[in-house]
Amino acid sequence: MARARSRIAGVISVFGELLITAGVLMGLFVVYSLWWTNVLADREADKQGDAVRDSWIADTGPGALDTQGGLGFLHVPAMGGDEVLVKEGTSPDVLNHGVAGYYTDPVKSALPQDRTGNFTLAAHRDGHGAKFHDIHKMKVGDPIVFETKDTWYVYKVYETLPKTSRFNVDVLQPVPKESGKTKPGRYITLTTCTPILTSDFRYIVWGELVRTEKVDHERTRPAELR
């Protein structure tokens, strides 16, 4: 009798330890997702960003674009103002390194220097650098500045879409009708996941090119970033 009872107690205690272990595991996963991936991604993004800037200095030819290393840097004062390296593609391999990627699929992104089109970007909301974490702080009229080797592209936000289906690829169209535009123009589209910590929906911010500025020798920042 006593032996049977102690066996039951043993089974229950192992079960309890397993539950505690599962809880600790989930807690560690949260730490990993929200902290450790940021550490790794920021480190990697700094390295890649430095490499792009070094290549800009080394290469004095006009307008040469190395899309493998990175196209340029995104500056959004409303999201804290840290520069975000922009690279080609939106696969996890690209985005997990703490950069923003421009779409190649399902709707191919235009590039900033194109005469018309939509420059469409994606980046993480949480973890892996969380470069678009504060996208909800962007309001209509806020500047979005994209810096390439020889040009500052200054965009202004004209529309936001705080919640849409993850299947809504029309937000990436060259003329994004959902934002109210009907004519071709030079647009920029930022996409990330929402609500924070999940990826049930997508958060969209649209901007339109206001002007461009030539980069000078000191890389003087446009007024929006000063």
Partner: protein, 53 residues
């Protein structure tokens, strides 16, 4: 389970405590280095793109 491990560690309480700590850190390292990076893409927490699928 943990009691069983504790009883099978050598040395006195201090040595066992130290070994336990090292074991725990080793497990955390394995999780962060191999298990979580593998598990993360399988979980629906961090998809940021719009796509047709």
């Amino acid at each position: 389970m943990y009691g069983w491990i504790w009883r099978h560690l050598p040395g006195n309480a201090w040595v066992r405590g130290l070994i336990s700590l090292v074991l725990a850190l080793g497990v955390v390292f394995l999780l962060f280095q191999y298990v979580f990076p593998w598990a993360e893409p399988l979980l629906p927490f961090n998809d940021v793109t719009v796509d047709g699928q």
